[in-house]
């Protein structure tokens, strides 16, 4: 009974249902092949890594009552920077150089996050507009970096972060796991989580409680930028090329959706890391399921709409009460107020 009341029960149930559908539609749901795990489930885990990363950052931003629309553009920039640098390497397979380049790309992304954070916290621009600026201009920057073309790289260490396997598990998923762990520790083992929730819950009360909301806000956007950058690397490593136009296109919407499904309110305050991860995996699974059961492309959006409707209704306490509550005993019917 208490499980049923948990906010995350219904998303989890829908995720499970979708996974079960996939067990039937796929040739291999999960098997061991070429020394690593393989199958639809693994595809889902691997494919959801970028979205998980972006959604993690988004969760923190949203918990302060903000929003970050620029994540997609940051992904594009990060991938473009990395591919541009890797392409010019003498030996594209030099692990050290590739790692260094990835660090540079993430640093660039973090700097972009710093820009966002400063606009929000110091200049005082509403987050949606502050990050919209980078959303628009950032993609232009990415296109400028790649000259509007797709930059191909042939670097196996780079490709590994997206397509490689370690201990039979996909590296991309392991990276996502590490990020989840890091963010969880960062927010729940320190006091950061509390301070974030407090800033999101009531900025004015937080200020009077002596919380340095500005510093925290800036930090959150930096983290979001860095995570988006990492997601951009995985995205581009997956196709071994930098696609400045489509990388991260519309991912902000999916990320926000994942956060909301995970039980974090858009107005800020309480947030749930686990919920967000669940939301992100759910969205990815939905994507895969659409292909798996062969929903015709023109009906894909309708199918998604139905799932999202079911999801948001099932998460609504009042809806459940109204639909299932009829079976509960209710107090005797009372007359209406005389007008």
């Amino acid at each position: 009974m208490t499980i049923l009341k948990n906010r995350l029960f219904w998303p989890a149930a829908i995720l499970l249902a979708l996974l079960i559908v996939n067990v039937f539609t796929s040739n291999q749901f999960i098997t061991l092949q070429d020394g690593h795990l393989f199958g639809t489930l693994i595809d889902i885990l691997r494919g959801s890594a970028p979205l998980i990363l972006v959604s993690l950052g988004m969760t923190l931003v949203i918990s302060t009552g903000g929003i970050d629309l620029s994540v997609g553009s940051v992904m594009a920039i990060s991938g473009a920077v990395a591919c541009l640098l890797i392409k010019d390497l003498g030996n594209q397979n030099a692990v050290g150089s590739v790692l260094l380049i990835m660090a540079v790309a993430i640093a660039v992304s973090a700097a972009l996050g710093l820009w966002n954070g400063s606009l929000v916290a110091i200049v005082g621009i509403q987050p949606i507009i502050a990050t919209l600026i980078l959303m628009v201009a950032g993609r232009g920057l990415a296109q400028l970096i790649t000259a509007g073309q797709i930059i191909n790289v042939q670097s196996s260490p780079y490709a590994t972060i997206a397509t490689g396997f370690f201990l039979t598990l996909p590296v991309a998923f392991l990276i996502a796991l590490a990020a989840i762990g890091l963010i969880a520790v960062l927010t729940r083992r320190t006091a950061l989580g509390l301070l974030l929730e407090s800033v999101g819950g009531s900025p004015s009360a937080s200020r009077l409680a002596g919380i340095q909301a500005k510093r925290i806000t800036v930090m959150v956007y930096v983290v979001s930028g860095a995570l988006a950058g990492l997601a951009g690397l995985i995205y581009s490593a997956n196709i071994k090329s930098a696609d400045s136009i489509y990388a991260g296109n519309l991912i902000e919407l999916d990320a926000i959706l994942a956060v909301v499904i995970g039980g974090t309110a858009l107005i800020g305050g309480r947030f749930s890391i686990l919920g967000t991860v669940l939301g992100a995996v759910l969205i990815q699974t939905l994507q895969v399921t659409v292909v798996g059961i062969g929903v015709p492309s023109k009906a894909t959006l309708l199918f998604k709409a139905v799932v999202v409707v079911v999801l948001c209704l099932s998460q609504s306490v009042t809806f459940r009460e109204k639909v299932f509550g009829r079976f509960k005993s209710r107090p005797a019917v009372r007359a209406e107020v005389p007008a």
Partner: protein
Amino acid sequence: MTTIDATPPSTNQKAAVNPRRRVYRPNTKYIPILATLALLIVMYVSGIANYRNFDQPSVVVNLFRDNAVLLVVTVGMTFVILTGGIDLSVGAVISLTTTLTATLLQGGWPPLLVLPLVLLLGALLGAGMGAVIHYFKVEPFIATLAGLFLARGLALFINQESIPIRDKLWTTLSDMRIPLGEHTRTTPTAVVALSAVLIAAAVLAWTRFGRNVYAIGGSADSALLMGLPVARTRIAVYTVSGFCAALGGVLYTINSTSGHALQGSGTELDAIASCVIGGVLLTGGAGYVFGSLLGVLVYGMIGTIINFQGDLNSAWTRIVVGILLFGFILLQRLVTRRAR
């Protein structure tokens, strides 16, 4: 209340100039709007200074014509945002409206039936989302995102292709020009859009519904405890937004005499951005439709300047849009902060 005599405080109330009266300040609530307007004019003037033919009246006229759809949608969005909500479905409702209108007209339905039908559909969709948001306490973001998927999904399901409209009424409206001056004419779409702004402004300023919108945006809990019709109002704003989006869709079909399931995609973000640029607070409760109008015009002006510039490739187009937007917002902040 046994010790203190209440006389002293009441005596000073009768003083000629009430000493307790708060310091009078000029009407600060209009400063953001005035600042935005001033900056818009600065933008326009610098356009004239820099570009050939920018001083043509058609530049201004086209600003309203080209942004008629966005303007109408933004008006609806303003209502929603003022209550502290958000409506992501507007772009998709445009898609659905244009597709449906074009399909029905192609199928030979009478235009005077199609028009109210699609408008009603938009309003109903909005009302449905509003009801879900209010009664089931679903986040507006997620409810209207589902609305987005649903509306665009339906549109694509009905017809993926771009459908021409050859109906007489539509083509007549599309070709119709309303003379404004010697060489300037405008279209009915622009007139409809401007009327929408005026009506919305009047509704927000002078009707109970309008004031309830602001109250809910200020604090929905308080509004409820004050005995305001929160449910009705909240559903109504999403209905208004859905209606406006459908009206925007109709204007779209008139503007382009065609319908297509991808038309209007991304309009939601433009509309939200326009509201916010115009000084409407996303948290609700503060802002004006005229602000949103200015927001749309700023957006349009940026586009116009880029078109006149004419030597930017796609990458630079985006960057320059970003820079102009940034410059504008920054100046707006500085001006309003000074003035306060």
